[in-house]
Symmetry: D2
Subunit: 143 residues, 4 copies
Amino acid sequence: MYHPHDTYLDVRYAETDAMGVVHHSRYLPWLEVARTDWMVALGTHYSEIERLGYFLVVSEIGARYLRPARFGDRVRINTHLKRVRSRQVRFEYEIFRVGDGDLLFTAFSEHILTDREGSLRRFPPELLAMLEKNQDERAAASG
Amino acid sequence: MYHPHDTYLDVRYAETDAMGVVHHSRYLPWLEVARTDWMVALGTHYSEIERLGYFLVVSEIGARYLRPARFGDRVRINTHLKRVRSRQVRFEYEIFRVGDGDLLFTAFSEHILTDREGSLRRFPPELLAMLEKNQDERAAASG
Amino acid sequence: MYHPHDTYLDVRYAETDAMGVVHHSRYLPWLEVARTDWMVALGTHYSEIERLGYFLVVSEIGARYLRPARFGDRVRINTHLKRVRSRQVRFEYEIFRVGDGDLLFTAFSEHILTDREGSLRRFPPELLAMLEKNQDERAAASG
Amino acid sequence: MYHPHDTYLDVRYAETDAMGVVHHSRYLPWLEVARTDWMVALGTHYSEIERLGYFLVVSEIGARYLRPARFGDRVRINTHLKRVRSRQVRFEYEIFRVGDGDLLFTAFSEHILTDREGSLRRFPPELLAMLEKNQDERAAASG
């Protein structure tokens, strides 16, 4: 079943830069928060995955900055799992400003599963099944 | 004339995360340092551009994480200007670990020129000329 | 009336470092979030103060790190206004781990009011009155 | 022998905030860079200490912000070891703007030595001897 998820964050002053807007690097930790939330909504905390000795490592990021976010803004991050492979997942994100609803930012992130030594690993079957059940079916059909 | 530029940085402890490696978001400020250095090597400090009322805003980022960087590593960021348009530039980057020479990370960044209010602006002629003179000619030929 | 305030935050992965715990510098943005929340609870957003041309600038920080916070932890930041002067305020903070209730961190921050040019300013009377009404009376009595 | 040490850093754009100056939290990673440099100047890299299973954990920070640093500024961080105990060290720092020489910031940091599990440990004799030899003698005399 398709499982998109919304995470709400208030822009922190420390996330702004001298242009008066959120620094472009600060969106990546937001995506990480959103992924963590997405997993919590599914019943797993990412720290559990690390406790089992697995690490979901970022292998690729693509991001488009459409409109600036500012201190005082509240943003909504819509996250969905776009694709699951035996060793790899792809998340996609849209960030909106709550209030005017403007789309500020879109991104994807690719992740690979590794062990503590950094070697590529396959998802444990239960985790893979859980992820597959929750990926965007439209994507799975077309991808 | 093609103008690549090398910037050297030592990984800061504060840039690592609980995986024991540099957090993926920390590479973006490194690219910003590298762009600043690239401009300094050409005789302009980016703060001068802002003093003239222009802002070079990040509009897109693409990044591939190939191997982790760790505290204690020294990295070399090779930067070059891939493409200049009247209102837009694209930089490309490769980050290597000094020592073993391993390629750790590749990325591009697209930037648009705006004024203080965020409206799109054309590069002032002298700045445009300077940028055009220093873009990667191989890219200009093929692009 | 004494006005302490609780802010709840989930530790972000990006806030951890290679020791596996929250990096000591990451607590300062948390305090900033907590101050912002404290003001919102009083009916003012800090961005409004900046819109009036005032800046509450950090002039001093003191912090004790008692126990580490980790990814997966939820923390509670208790904030109170310890002292108000015509141009200066002091906030104090305690950070607890939700769950075991352990005290992780204590801190204070001193702030001065400036204008856009960085010159020292007095609080506007309404803002001063609002702050004075909400400082810790026990402190005001003994201080 | 008294061993103060100077570290030079260029302000990064990502270190600024919407006030147009360096965010107060960003000075703490600078102090960490300065401590690392201080140790390198003595012939030890901090990552070696961690490889031996020791962690130098920040237990207290005190910082005064005197004048803002801005993007485009180069700063000099003067570091010295103020005090060594069997399980604890105290560093002190002054940060100056290169150019006008203005003192921008002063701070101290207290650190305790722990093992990987976070238990307090004594410095290994050679490391303690090295540290004692390099602390500020004036402080040792008066402290």
